[in-house]
Symmetry: C2
């Protein structure tokens, strides 16, 4: 394994070259397809681009909620639930638990599906689980400046990183007050950040 | 828009070339990342590969279920619920309705989330909605040999295309008998087809 000599590029640039043969791509609608795709004129490979799943947790300890202060863009310095891109080969719950371990150094158990939120303008679907913290053993990962437990009236509403986190926490607080948690599916159709 | 001269390649070959500059990729773990990625040594682009969402419907008309007989591989000739890859820019419900229109020529309304099924060995998550057919106006699309309404005791269990369809229909039949539909999240961890 060799590290590349060029600096890493974390942006996802538009597709311009074929990832099978390296030739320059063209845009067209393949036969039997209703969508314009980037297609390789040399080897015929069709490059499909599809939405990505973000998976995360609401980790709970004695009624308190674990939040992470972001050490990365977007929304550096804002608070979030531990969450991130689901990886190939894992389940949504595996991914939510892995992200909680990576960002908050925390183990979770008893994951229960809670919110699925469509965010079509960024081609994402966010999936949050309710979960129990296994212990008070947690610590900031590389992507977090701080990790803390918040009681309900301490939640930093104006400093939350994303609408999907705000909506998930709003419903969590309301459902807990009502004494019953209900699975919810929602859409966020406007601005990406609060 | 020009069609490429090479035949279309519907397979998804492994990533070998950078889709930003066309250079040959190398495999490495980028700093701060826990996963091996295909990275471009020339321009530094990291090529993330993530699971895809399959979205679909259980379209219902007077208690009967609409199924499509597949005109494409995999599972040519087997019956399935209308479903397919979610596209960029749409919500999960948009996608489920679009696939139902494309595969079965059918309009649906009142979509309610029903099953979310992890299929980690093929890097997919399948999301099915319960839905009502708007009318009896339906017909095979390009990807279907036949489209038909099935009463519960007509469901062709041994000719269903995918485990996620079997599990979704099993729960649907059981929930209807019990008089209450419940959102369910599951995992299928073994063979891709029945």
């Amino acid at each position: 394994m060799t590290l590349p000599t060029a600096p890493f590029n974390l942006q996802r640039p538009p597709l311009t070259h074929c990832n099978n043969c390296g030739a320059k791509l063209q845009s067209c609608i393949p036969p039997g397809d209703g969508h314009e795709r980037m297609v390789c004129p040399a080897c015929g490979t069709i490059h499909y681009e599809n939405p990505k799943l973000i998976v995360g947790c609401i980790p709970i300890w004695e009624g308190k909620i674990l939040l992470c202060k972001r050490a990365i863009e977007p929304r550096y310095g804002y608070w979030t639930l531990p969450a991130g891109f689901m990886e190939n080969g894992e389940t949504t719950a595996d991914g939510a638990a892995r992200e909680t371990l990576e960002e908050a150094g925390a183990e979770v158990k008893n994951l229960t599906p809670y919110t699925v939120i469509d965010v079509p303008y960024v081609h994402q679907v966010h999936f949050f689980y309710r979960a129990e913290l296994v212990s008070l053993d947690f610590a900031s990962g590389e992507e977090s400046l701080d990790v803390r437990l918040f009681s309900e009236d301490e939640i930093p509403w104006s400093e939350l990183a994303f609408f999907t986190v705000i909506e998930t926490l709003k419903h969590f607080v309301a459902d807990r007050k009502a004494g019953q948690f209900e699975f919810r599916q929602m859409q966020i159709r406007n601005k990406p950040v609060p």
